[in-house]
Symmetry: C2
Subunit: 480 residues, 2 copies
Amino acid sequence: MADTEELLHQEDVQQRLREVQDLLSRHRLVENLVQRQEMNKHDIVENLVHKQHTVELSRKLADMHPADVAFVLEALPLEDRLIVWDLIEADRQGEVLLEVSDAVRETLIRSMEPNELVAAAETLDADELADLAPDLPQEVMQDVYLALDTEEREQLRAAMSYPEDSVGALMDFEMVTVREDVTLEVVLRYLRRFDELPDHTDQLFVIDREEHLQGVLPFNLLLVNDPEIEVSTIMQTDMMALHPDDKADAAAQAFERYDLVSAPVVDPENRLVGRVTVNAVMDFIREDAESDMLAQAGLKEEEDIFASVWSSVKNRWAWLAINLVTAFIASRVIGAFESSIEKLAALAALMPIVAGIGGNSGNQTITMIVRAIALGQVEQDAARKLFRKEIGVAGLNGLIWGGLLGVIVWLLYGSVKLGLVMTSAMTLNLVLAATVGVMIPMTMARLGRDPAVGASVLITAVTDSGGFFIFLGLASLLLL
Amino acid sequence: MADTEELLHQEDVQQRLREVQDLLSRHRLVENLVQRQEMNKHDIVENLVHKQHTVELSRKLADMHPADVAFVLEALPLEDRLIVWDLIEADRQGEVLLEVSDAVRETLIRSMEPNELVAAAETLDADELADLAPDLPQEVMQDVYLALDTEEREQLRAAMSYPEDSVGALMDFEMVTVREDVTLEVVLRYLRRFDELPDHTDQLFVIDREEHLQGVLPFNLLLVNDPEIEVSTIMQTDMMALHPDDKADAAAQAFERYDLVSAPVVDPENRLVGRVTVNAVMDFIREDAESDMLAQAGLKEEEDIFASVWSSVKNRWAWLAINLVTAFIASRVIGAFESSIEKLAALAALMPIVAGIGGNSGNQTITMIVRAIALGQVEQDAARKLFRKEIGVAGLNGLIWGGLLGVIVWLLYGSVKLGLVMTSAMTLNLVLAATVGVMIPMTMARLGRDPAVGASVLITAVTDSGGFFIFLGLASLLLL
């Protein structure tokens, strides 16, 4: 699709952001003057300057690609964000809403009247509407739905019926189809009747009368072959066809492995129902990687960086609560050894080292195994090999680092025995970390759950409590 | 490009893997029999069975896409991996080497003779060779280089001269160019002279006699317009042109923002030197996300899951050493308060809670800020706003969770004062975590360094030592 908006390099987008910020701050300056009543509200000068800024801002925004407008909105504090939002043409607001993050989308939708929302939503395709629908008020969706034609309604219903991580949620409905018994010349003439082809059209889908997918005709073949040839002669029949219920992740892997630009989606009867394009896949990959990263740090979802303190607190709450519980358990383990610590306070100083190194080592193991599972490389019979390797690594690390620390402790506290306890506790906790580090993701995967979620909390809980218990227990047995 | 290999769904690839594993285990069974001398090495039966397996394996591998062969190789232990590797046709080994991970590539290259390597490398394009070059022995690269023609040599030199995270490293040289003063009809006839077009050709590049980029002609426009029209009439001139020195990350963001399939790369004089395609960008994004994840867990690089214990130990070493140092510092902080702990061993049990929650909260802050910086959303004047928000969140969390813990400590140890120390220490350490959590990534970014690398280690070091110091210090002052 030929966009009339400028395509910008990242630094130019940032430049735009600065210009918008500059205009906004001048805008605010005027507003402040008015508020302080140093200027009359109906003062002509005020009005002129004010209008000038507004016009300039609108013009700047109109030239920008919706994705760049979204970028600017994300980077602005709430108040400024809403000023800018009101300056964006109504028929572009829908596209921009698709591009912003969930958190920012919420702030924008909250600021809009139902009729504005209907107007914005009506500019979108069925698959785009389906992405937006969960964030829109019920009554707005009803109005939008009523304005759709029968085919679009069915598409919207279909798109909304698939779970977020399925191919159905990634697909769109903008496929160009041809019949197999026509010549390439006919196909070329047919294409010339379009004003434009859908984005990412790199192949045509060949279907029969009942919409069954017969094959695909890549432009690469269409363009290099003799126009007299029939479609059926050169179409590819061994293409990658997806199903709406396939996992989005499986589709993403297929796009990566085979470098696809688009792929047909068919129902169980092999009827063409949609297509998936590489841009939808790329968005999915990026979002997936990001939510993994956020989940690992215990953030429920991406956070509007200018969110209120209260909503940020809620976003981070669950994780802190879980950590408080695990930390409390570890604390009780230590509590059980308070009499040992009273006798030898050095134990209190040394125990966090044992626990901490165990946690780090366990997290390394988990990260490696989670990655291998995600790539589908860990078969059941590999488990024993992995266990053996990880325990070998842990044992070796324990002897090396634990040995080093043992010597330092010996020199520091003048007690060979304390040094030996340190070395053995380190080694044992590292072995514990390796064992649990392999077990947690393997078990999660076998139970059909995401091996990454919560794995880091769990391993740290085990290596903390375990480390304290091993170290203090050994010390109580051997030293006191 | 029309591949003759099958395109498979993820579960089918895994099925292939199991079949290969099955064939290999039967292969090994025979070998074991031979070794145990229960069968004569030249026994005809052995030879027959053996050959059958080998033939079946080769046939299976020949049908598979190089990316799927790579997948199978990654999932096999070293010994099996090399058996399979030897069965892959020499002219496909180059492509497979491109698809496997660095760690596995190393094991494969190490098993090959120089002349085999030269044969494998000679099947590759210049940009692919450049990716492989760092892993190939010097003498092999020399032989390969000598076999190239002048244009390819220059391309290889160019591709190798750019740093790994630049556009130059992502680009290939397979662009199709046309002149602006010809009609679409001429373009269509020109394209029909190709046997096939390069992968991901979604547009032609329009250049003048000196190879200056004039515009691009998307297939979408070529196909819908009248063949009598001249290229110059419909070509797009506001396309996104990249420079070889641009950051790969900036290019990736442009591909995502504008949903591109390919983009021209031009030198400072606007001469077309190559192109970047969406599949190169997608690989880059995936690798980038992965190396972030590995770095966060302190793994130097992706690890061959069947790597030897020793090479795994080395991969995880640096991080453990750093952690040992920070844990040791924290331990010394505690050591300074040993006399307090001797008097009140409860302090030893409670201090890890203060340190742990601080670390978690600090990591949440860092993750959020790093993400905002990566998206380019954090301008200097936003820093103060962010500080205020994060400190607000930390203070609120400290009062809520610290208050709760204070009450629990009071009930558990019967000391109101100890409870108050707990609450204040928690709050102070959370505020410390927030302050440092904003400062570290902002400072790194201002110094032009990657804000994610090492941030997590640093914050944990600060919140551990800081938490112990704050809690034990307050307790010593107020309780003893």
